[in-house]
C-alpha cells in the first residue's frame, strides 16, 4: 500500500515535469475549463431568474450542487481523464504490454498513471462558488460537515472511477472506437442538476443502474443536512460493488487481450 502511494506521487511528479514542459497546453486547458465553468454558472442564474425553486432546490442550494459537480469533475479530470482517454489506444496498439510485465498491479498502472495538473487549478473557482453558496445559505462550516463532505467526495470519486473505467473496459470488446470518452462525459452531465428534475425512468436508471446522480447529490445533501444515512450507505455499497465488478471485468478483458502484432 505504502509502495503504491509512493508510486502515485512519483507518477504525479513526472507529470508536473511534463506539464511544465508544455506550458501552452497547460494554459489552454485551464482557460477552457474556466469558460465551461462560467457557462454552467450563467445557465443556473438564468434558470433561477424565472423560477424560485427547481425540484425543491433553491438557487444557492443548486449552486452548491454545481460547485460539488464541478469539484468532482475537476478531480476526476485531474486524476482519471488522461488515463481513460488512452485506454482504448493501449489495447489497440498493444501498449498495455508494458504494464503487464511489471511488478505493479497493471490496473493501477494503466488507470492512474497520468494526471492533468491544470485541472487542479480549476478547482479554485469551484471552491469559491461553494463558499459563495454557503454564504448565501447562511450556513457555517462545522467539523462534522466538512469531514463528512470530503469523505463523501472521495466516495463519489471512487464511483466515478469505476463507472468511467467500466466504460473504458468496453474497449477490450470494441477495439476500434474512440467515442467511449464522450459517452462518459454525457453521462456525468446528468449529475449537474438537482435529481428531482428527472422523472421516474431516468431517475431510476441513473440512481440504480448507472448511479451517476448520487455521486454529486449525496455529498451535497449531506452538507445541506437533508441526508438520510440510507443514501450514504447506498453509495458505500455501490462503490464497493463497482470496485469488485470492474476488477472482474478487467480480468475477463485481459484474457481477451491479444496485444498487437510486432
Amino acid at each position: 500500500m505504502q509502495r503504491y502511494i509512493r508510486l502515485f506521487f512519483r507518477y504525479l511528479s513526472t507529470d508536473i515535469i511534463r506539464e511544465a514542459e508544455f506550458r501552452g497546453g497547460f494554459f489552454l486547458l485551464l482557460v477552457s475549463n474556466l469558460i465551461e465553468f462560467t457557462v454552467t454558472v450563467a445557465f443556473f442564474s438564468l434558470l433561477y431568474g424565472s423560477v424560485p425553486t427547481v425540484g425543491g432546490w433553491s438557487y444557492p442550494e443548486a449552486l452548491f450542487l454545481v460547485a460539488t459537480y464541478s469539484i468532482i469533475g475537476n478531480l476526476s479530470g485531474a486524476f482519471f481523464l488522461r488515463n481513460f482517454a488512452r485506454f482504448s489506444e493501449y489495447i489497440r496498439t498493444g501498449l498495455l504490454d508494458t504494464f503487464l510485465t511489471k511488478p505493479v498491479d497493471a490496473q493501477f498502472a494503466a488507470t492512474l498513471r497520468y494526471h492533468a495538473i491544470s485541472n487542479l487549478i480549476s478547482l479554485l473557482p469551484s471552491v469559491a462558488l461553494l463558499m459563495i453558496s454557503l454564504h448565501r445559505l447562511g450556513l457555517t462550516i462545522t467539523v462534522v460537515n466538512a469531514v463528512g463532505y470530503v469523505l463523501l467526495l472521495v466516495l463519489g470519486l471512487i464511483i466515478v472511477y469505476c463507472l468511467w473505467f467500466a466504460i473504458s473496459l468496453l474497449a477490450f470488446w470494441l477495439t476500434q472506437i474512440n467515442e467511449l470518452q464522450e459517452l462518459w462525459f454525457s453521462l456525468y452531465d446528468f449529475a449537474r442538476y438537482p435529481p428531482p428534475i428527472y422523472d421516474g425512468g431516468v431517475r431510476i436508471l441513473f440512481t440504480f443502474v448507472i448511479p451517476v446522480l448520487t455521486v454529486v447529490a449525496v455529498p451535497t445533501e449531506f452538507f445541506l443536512e437533508h441526508t438520510q444515512p440510507a443514501a450514504i450507505g447506498y453509495n458505500v455499497a455501490i462503490a464497493a460493488t463497482l470496485l469488485i465488478v470492474t476488477r472482474l471485468l478487467w480480468k475477463v478483458g485481459l484474457r481477451r487481450y491479444a496485444s498487437a502484432s510486432s
Partner: protein, 328 residues
C-alpha cells in the same frame, strides 16, 4: 533444472473483421465474421541457465507471440510453460521482478520525459535498493556509453540512443531472464555491432539467460551458440548453429590453388565445379566422406593451398527458409 520450460505451447488468435465506428462496433458484437490465426503450434523447448538462444524465423513465424506468452502478456490457447518455476501468465510479482522483455518496435520509456525519470520510476516499481540502483546504473551507462543522454527527453534521442536507454531500463533490476525481440532493428551497422557486443558481454558476465530474436544473421552468428528456428508456428530446428549447416547442406566448399595448370577433366567426378581458372578451382564436394575425398584430391592434384569451408550461416538459414517455404 532448466530456467525456461515450454511444453506443447499453442496460441491461436481470434479476431474479427469489422468496419470502424461506434455503430459498426456495436453491430459487430452481434454478428461478425470470426477469423483465426494459429500463430504458435505445440511448441516445446527448454533453456538452461546462462544460455543465449537465438530465436529465428521469417516474418509471422510466431517468435514475438511465443516471447509474449513467456513474458505473461498473452495467455496461451493450450499448453504449458514455466520460467524460473513460475507460470508466466499468472503474472506473479515475484516472477516479474526477475525478468525483462525488450521489444525493438515498442518503447517502454516515457516519451516526454528524460530517460532518467523512467529509470527512477523503475527503481520504485522494482523496489531496487538505492546502492544497487546507483551501481547498476553506473555500470550500464559506462558499458553503453549513455552518460550525456540521461537527462534528455526520450523523444529527442536517436534510435540507437533510445535502444540503449530501453535496454538500461530493462536491466536495472538485474533480471535473471531477458527476452529481446529484435533489439537491433533499425540500427546502423556500427550501433548494431555495439549492441551485439554489449549483449554478448552482458550474458557472459551476468550469466543472464537470454532469448533473442533478430532478422540480422550477423547478430545470430555473433551471439548465439544455439538457435531455435520456427516457421508458421512450428519449431523445425533446435540445436547448435554449426549443426544447422550440417542439416541443411549436403556439401562443403573446397578452394584450391595449384602449383601448375590443371584441366577441368583432371578434377575428380564427385567435385562439382563452381568456379575454375587453370591454376585455381572452387568445387563443392559431398559432406559425407569429405575427409577421405579431400585426401584423395591432395594425392592426385598438384595442390599448393587448400581450404574447406562451411556455407556462410546466413546462406544456410536462407536455405532453410526457402526449403521450408516450398509447399510439401
Amino acid at each position: 533444472m532448466p530456467i525456461i520450460e515450454v511444453r506443447d505451447l499453442s496460441k491461436t488468435y481470434t479476431y474479427h473483421r469489422k468496419a470502424p465506428g461506434l455503430w459498426n462496433s456495436v453491430k459487430s458484437l452481434f454478428k461478425r465474421q470470426t477469423l483465426t490465426t494459429e500463430a504458435v503450434k505445440r511448441v516445446s523447448f527448454t533453456v538452461e541457465a546462462g544460455e543465449l538462444v537465438g530465436f529465428l524465423g521469417p516474418n509471422g513465424a510466431g517468435k514475438t507471440t511465443t516471447l509474449k506468452m513467456l513474458a505473461g502478456i498473452l495467455y496461451p490457447t493450450t499448453g504449458e510453460a514455466r520460467v524460473l518455476g513460475y507460470v508466466p501468465w499468472e503474472r506473479k510479482a515475484a516472477y516479474q521482478k526477475q525478468f525483462s522483455i525488450v521489444m525493438g518496435q515498442k518503447n517502454q520509456l516515457w516519451w516526454d520525459l528524460p530517460a532518467m525519470e523512467s529509470f527512477l520510476l523503475n527503481k520504485e516499481i522494482y523496489e531496487i535498493p538505492e546502492p544497487q540502483f546507483k551501481e547498476t546504473l553506473n555500470e550500464l551507462t559506462e558499458l553503453l556509453d549513455l552518460h550525456e543522454v540521461l537527462d534528455v527527453q526520450v523523444r529527442k534521442l536517436s534510435l540507437g540512443q533510445r535502444m540503449k536507454a530501453e535496454l538500461t531500463a530493462a536491466l536495472l533490476h538485474r533480471p535473471k531472464v531477458l527476452f529481446l525481440d529484435e533489439p537491433t532493428i533499425g540500427l546502423d551497422v556500427v550501433a548494431q555491432q555495439k549492441m551485439r557486443e554489449f549483449i554478448k558481454a552482458y550474458n557472459q558476465q551476468q550469466k543472464t539467460t537470454i532469448m533473442l530474436t533478430s532478422h540480422y544473421m550477423e547478430d545470430v552468428a555473433a551471439l548465439a551458440q544455439r538457435v531455435i528456428i520456427i516457421d508458421r508456428g512450428i519449431i523445425f530446428y533446435d540445436g547448435p548453429l554449426t549443426g544447422l549447416a550440417a542439416k541443411v547442406h549436403e556439401h562443403k566448399t573446397v578452394r584450391m590453388t595449384f602449383t601448375k595448370p590443371v584441366a577441368a577433366t583432371d578434377l575428380p567426378a564427385f567435385a562439382h565445379i563452381i568456379e575454375r581458372t587453370p591454376t585455381t578451382a572452387t568445387v563443392r564436394i559431398p559432406r559425407k566422406d569429405s575427409a577421405r575425398r579431400t585426401a584423395e584430391m591432395l594425392k592426385t592434384l598438384p595442390i599448393d593451398d587448400i581450404t574447406i569451408e562451411e556455407e556462410p550461416i546466413d546462406d544456410v538459414i536462407r536455405q532453410v527458409f526457402l526449403n521450408h517455404a516450398q509447399p510439401a
